[in-house]
Protein backbone atom coordinates (compact mmCIF):
# COMPACT_ATOMS: atom_id res chain seq x y z
CA UNK A 1 0.00 0.00 0.00
CA UNK A 2 1.35 3.40 -1.01
CA UNK A 3 0.56 6.13 1.48
CA UNK A 4 -0.03 9.76 0.55
CA UNK A 5 -0.38 12.58 3.08
CA UNK A 6 -1.82 16.02 2.34
CA UNK A 7 -0.97 18.77 4.81
CA UNK A 8 -2.32 22.28 5.27
CA UNK A 9 -2.36 24.70 8.20
CA UNK A 10 -5.18 23.17 10.21
CA UNK A 11 -6.04 20.00 8.30
CA UNK A 12 -9.71 20.98 8.02
CA UNK A 13 -10.34 22.81 4.77
CA UNK A 14 -7.89 22.80 1.93
CA UNK A 15 -6.12 19.55 2.79
CA UNK A 16 -9.41 17.65 3.03
CA UNK A 17 -10.48 19.18 -0.27
CA UNK A 18 -7.26 18.04 -1.93
CA UNK A 19 -7.65 14.56 -0.39
CA UNK A 20 -11.09 14.39 -2.03
CA UNK A 21 -9.73 15.51 -5.39
CA UNK A 22 -6.81 13.07 -5.30
CA UNK A 23 -9.10 10.17 -4.34
CA UNK A 24 -11.46 11.00 -7.21
CA UNK A 25 -8.53 11.21 -9.60
CA UNK A 26 -7.22 7.82 -8.50
CA UNK A 27 -10.70 6.27 -8.82
CA UNK A 28 -11.27 7.80 -12.23
CA UNK A 29 -7.98 6.38 -13.44
CA UNK A 30 -8.50 3.01 -11.75
CA UNK A 31 -5.34 3.40 -9.68
CA UNK A 32 -5.63 1.16 -6.62
CA UNK A 33 -3.46 0.44 -3.59
CA UNK A 34 -3.05 4.10 -2.64
CA UNK A 35 -4.20 5.49 0.70
CA UNK A 36 -4.71 9.27 0.96
CA UNK A 37 -4.97 11.13 4.27
CA UNK A 38 -5.02 14.71 5.52
CA UNK A 39 -3.09 16.11 8.44
CA UNK A 40 -2.32 19.49 9.90
CA UNK A 41 1.07 21.10 9.76
CA UNK A 42 1.72 20.73 13.48
CA UNK A 43 1.43 16.92 13.31
CA UNK A 44 3.30 16.59 10.08
CA UNK A 45 6.89 16.28 11.35
CA UNK A 46 5.83 13.43 13.67
CA UNK A 47 3.90 11.41 11.10
CA UNK A 48 5.63 12.19 7.82
CA UNK A 49 8.01 9.23 7.89
CA UNK A 50 5.01 6.87 7.71
CA UNK A 51 4.17 8.13 4.22
CA UNK A 52 5.61 7.71 0.72
CA UNK A 53 4.31 10.93 -0.84
CA UNK A 54 3.80 14.34 0.74
CA UNK A 55 1.39 16.74 -0.97
CA UNK A 56 2.06 20.24 0.34
CA UNK A 57 -0.32 23.18 0.70
CA UNK A 58 1.89 25.12 3.08
CA UNK A 59 5.51 25.86 2.43
CA UNK A 60 7.58 22.94 3.75
CA UNK A 61 9.96 23.95 6.53
CA UNK A 62 13.65 22.92 6.39
CA UNK A 63 12.84 20.27 9.02
CA UNK A 64 10.15 18.78 6.77
CA UNK A 65 12.43 18.89 3.74
CA UNK A 66 15.13 17.05 5.72
CA UNK A 67 12.70 14.30 6.63
CA UNK A 68 11.64 13.96 2.99
CA UNK A 69 15.25 13.69 1.90
CA UNK A 70 16.29 11.21 4.58
CA UNK A 71 13.25 8.98 4.15
CA UNK A 72 13.05 9.27 0.37
CA UNK A 73 9.56 10.79 0.46
CA UNK A 74 8.34 12.38 -2.74
CA UNK A 75 6.97 15.91 -2.39
CA UNK A 76 4.20 17.19 -4.65
CA UNK A 77 2.71 20.68 -5.10
CA UNK A 78 -0.86 20.43 -3.80
CA UNK A 79 -1.85 24.02 -4.52
CA UNK A 80 -2.05 23.18 -8.22
CA UNK A 81 -4.28 20.22 -7.35
CA UNK A 82 -6.51 22.50 -5.29
CA UNK A 83 -6.97 25.04 -8.08
CA UNK A 84 -7.14 22.47 -10.87
CA UNK A 85 -6.03 25.31 -13.10
CA UNK A 86 -3.60 23.20 -15.13
CA UNK A 87 -6.31 21.17 -16.86
CA UNK A 88 -5.20 17.84 -15.38
CA UNK A 89 -1.43 18.34 -15.58
CA UNK A 90 -1.46 19.18 -11.87
CA UNK A 91 -1.62 15.42 -11.19
CA UNK A 92 1.53 14.59 -13.20
CA UNK A 93 4.03 14.99 -10.31
CA UNK A 94 1.84 12.71 -8.17
CA UNK A 95 1.52 10.12 -10.93
CA UNK A 96 5.29 10.21 -11.49
CA UNK A 97 5.89 9.69 -7.79
CA UNK A 98 3.47 6.74 -7.65
CA UNK A 99 5.07 5.24 -10.76
CA UNK A 100 8.58 5.58 -9.31
CA UNK A 101 7.46 4.00 -6.03
CA UNK A 102 5.91 1.09 -7.88
CA UNK A 103 9.17 0.36 -9.66
CA UNK A 104 11.41 0.61 -6.62
Amino acid sequence: MTKVVVACGSGVATSETVVGKVKSFLEDHKITGVEVEATDFKQLANVLKNYDVYVWLAKPTPEIMDICEQEGIYDVNGVNVLTGAMGGDEYLPLVNALYSLKNQ
Binding site: A13, E16, V79, T83
Partner: protein, 155 residues
Protein backbone atom coordinates in the same frame (compact mmCIF):
# COMPACT_ATOMS: atom_id res chain seq x y z
CA UNK B 1 -30.01 24.53 -4.97
CA UNK B 2 -28.36 22.04 -2.66
CA UNK B 3 -27.46 21.72 1.00
CA UNK B 4 -24.35 23.72 0.12
CA UNK B 5 -26.39 26.81 -0.70
CA UNK B 6 -27.39 27.12 2.98
CA UNK B 7 -23.85 28.20 3.76
CA UNK B 8 -24.35 31.47 1.89
CA UNK B 9 -25.92 34.51 3.52
CA UNK B 10 -26.80 37.75 1.77
CA UNK B 11 -25.58 39.70 4.81
CA UNK B 12 -22.11 38.24 4.19
CA UNK B 13 -21.80 39.53 0.64
CA UNK B 14 -19.79 42.74 0.75
CA UNK B 15 -18.76 45.03 -2.09
CA UNK B 16 -16.20 47.83 -2.28
CA UNK B 17 -14.72 47.22 1.14
CA UNK B 18 -12.24 50.03 1.62
CA UNK B 19 -8.77 49.62 3.00
CA UNK B 20 -5.21 49.21 1.85
CA UNK B 21 -4.00 46.21 3.83
CA UNK B 22 -5.12 42.69 4.39
CA UNK B 23 -5.33 43.32 8.15
CA UNK B 24 -7.64 46.25 7.53
CA UNK B 25 -9.99 44.20 5.36
CA UNK B 26 -9.99 41.30 7.84
CA UNK B 27 -10.96 43.67 10.64
CA UNK B 28 -13.98 45.03 8.78
CA UNK B 29 -15.19 41.61 7.67
CA UNK B 30 -14.76 40.26 11.21
CA UNK B 31 -17.07 42.98 12.51
CA UNK B 32 -19.79 41.95 10.08
CA UNK B 33 -19.34 38.26 10.97
CA UNK B 34 -19.44 39.06 14.66
CA UNK B 35 -22.56 41.21 14.46
CA UNK B 36 -24.31 38.43 12.53
CA UNK B 37 -23.42 35.91 15.23
CA UNK B 38 -21.11 33.73 13.16
CA UNK B 39 -17.85 34.00 15.08
CA UNK B 40 -16.25 34.04 18.51
CA UNK B 41 -14.50 37.15 19.83
CA UNK B 42 -11.19 35.38 19.15
CA UNK B 43 -11.88 35.13 15.42
CA UNK B 44 -9.99 38.17 14.11
CA UNK B 45 -6.76 37.38 15.95
CA UNK B 46 -6.97 33.74 14.94
CA UNK B 47 -7.66 34.69 11.33
CA UNK B 48 -4.66 37.02 11.12
CA UNK B 49 -2.37 34.58 12.87
CA UNK B 50 -3.33 31.76 10.56
CA UNK B 51 -2.94 33.92 7.46
CA UNK B 52 0.55 34.99 8.63
CA UNK B 53 1.56 31.39 9.18
CA UNK B 54 -0.33 29.72 6.35
CA UNK B 55 -1.29 32.21 3.65
CA UNK B 56 -4.40 31.48 1.57
CA UNK B 57 -3.90 33.43 -1.66
CA UNK B 58 -4.63 31.26 -4.69
CA UNK B 59 -4.12 32.27 -8.32
CA UNK B 60 -6.86 30.35 -10.12
CA UNK B 61 -7.13 30.07 -13.91
CA UNK B 62 -9.36 33.12 -14.26
CA UNK B 63 -9.10 35.04 -11.01
CA UNK B 64 -6.65 35.67 -8.18
CA UNK B 65 -8.45 35.00 -4.87
CA UNK B 66 -7.82 34.47 -1.18
CA UNK B 67 -9.57 31.99 1.12
CA UNK B 68 -8.93 33.24 4.66
CA UNK B 69 -10.08 30.94 7.44
CA UNK B 70 -9.42 30.39 11.13
CA UNK B 71 -9.43 27.19 13.16
CA UNK B 72 -12.91 25.79 13.98
CA UNK B 73 -12.85 26.75 17.68
CA UNK B 74 -13.16 30.42 16.66
CA UNK B 75 -16.32 29.86 14.63
CA UNK B 76 -19.86 29.56 16.03
CA UNK B 77 -21.66 28.43 12.89
CA UNK B 78 -20.47 27.71 9.37
CA UNK B 79 -20.42 30.37 6.64
CA UNK B 80 -18.85 31.63 3.47
CA UNK B 81 -18.44 35.40 3.15
CA UNK B 82 -18.03 36.80 -0.36
CA UNK B 83 -16.01 40.00 -0.17
CA UNK B 84 -14.81 42.32 -2.91
CA UNK B 85 -12.43 45.11 -1.95
CA UNK B 86 -12.23 48.54 -3.53
CA UNK B 87 -8.46 48.41 -3.93
CA UNK B 88 -6.07 45.63 -4.82
CA UNK B 89 -4.84 44.04 -1.61
CA UNK B 90 -1.52 42.24 -1.30
CA UNK B 91 -1.72 38.74 0.14
CA UNK B 92 0.69 35.80 0.00
CA UNK B 93 0.09 32.67 -2.00
CA UNK B 94 -0.68 29.37 -0.36
CA UNK B 95 2.23 26.95 -0.44
CA UNK B 96 4.83 29.11 -2.16
CA UNK B 97 4.43 32.36 -0.20
CA UNK B 98 4.85 34.66 -3.23
CA UNK B 99 2.98 37.97 -3.26
CA UNK B 100 -0.39 38.18 -4.99
CA UNK B 101 -2.71 41.12 -5.54
CA UNK B 102 -6.43 40.52 -5.33
CA UNK B 103 -9.81 42.12 -4.75
CA UNK B 104 -11.62 38.84 -4.20
CA UNK B 105 -11.83 37.31 -0.75
CA UNK B 106 -13.88 34.30 0.28
CA UNK B 107 -13.83 33.91 4.05
CA UNK B 108 -14.56 30.35 5.12
CA UNK B 109 -16.09 29.66 8.51
CA UNK B 110 -15.40 26.04 9.27
CA UNK B 111 -16.81 24.06 12.16
CA UNK B 112 -16.03 20.42 12.75
CA UNK B 113 -19.63 19.17 12.60
CA UNK B 114 -20.12 20.34 9.03
CA UNK B 115 -16.60 19.80 7.79
CA UNK B 116 -17.63 17.32 5.08
CA UNK B 117 -20.16 19.76 3.71
CA UNK B 118 -17.60 22.51 3.62
CA UNK B 119 -15.06 20.35 1.86
CA UNK B 120 -17.72 19.78 -0.82
CA UNK B 121 -18.29 23.51 -0.95
CA UNK B 122 -14.61 24.23 -1.48
CA UNK B 123 -14.35 21.56 -4.19
CA UNK B 124 -17.32 23.01 -6.05
CA UNK B 125 -15.98 26.48 -5.53
CA UNK B 126 -12.57 25.69 -7.05
CA UNK B 127 -14.37 24.03 -9.97
CA UNK B 128 -16.33 27.23 -10.57
CA UNK B 129 -13.18 29.34 -10.45
CA UNK B 130 -12.00 27.42 -13.51
CA UNK B 131 -15.26 28.14 -15.29
CA UNK B 132 -14.72 31.29 -17.29
CA UNK B 133 -18.43 31.93 -17.71
CA UNK B 134 -19.01 31.80 -13.95
CA UNK B 135 -16.03 34.04 -13.23
CA UNK B 136 -17.29 36.60 -15.74
CA UNK B 137 -20.69 36.60 -14.08
CA UNK B 138 -18.99 36.90 -10.69
CA UNK B 139 -17.01 39.91 -11.88
CA UNK B 140 -20.05 41.65 -13.28
CA UNK B 141 -22.40 41.03 -10.34
CA UNK B 142 -23.02 44.51 -8.98
CA UNK B 143 -25.25 44.04 -5.96
CA UNK B 144 -25.97 41.63 -3.13
CA UNK B 145 -29.04 40.15 -4.79
CA UNK B 146 -27.41 39.28 -8.09
CA UNK B 147 -24.32 37.90 -6.34
CA UNK B 148 -26.46 35.80 -4.02
CA UNK B 149 -28.53 34.50 -6.94
CA UNK B 150 -25.37 33.64 -8.87
CA UNK B 151 -24.15 31.44 -6.02
CA UNK B 152 -27.61 29.95 -5.43
CA UNK B 153 -27.79 28.95 -9.07
CA UNK B 154 -24.42 27.25 -8.96
CA UNK B 155 -24.40 25.42 -5.65
Amino acid sequence: MSELSNLFDKELILFNVEGSTRQNIFEQVSKVLDSNGYTQSTFLDALNKREDEFPTGVVTANLPIALPHANPENVKRPFIAVVQTKNLITVQQMGIGDDEETKNFFFLGIVEETQDLQVKLLQRFMELMNDKEFVNKFKSAADKDSMYDLFMNNF
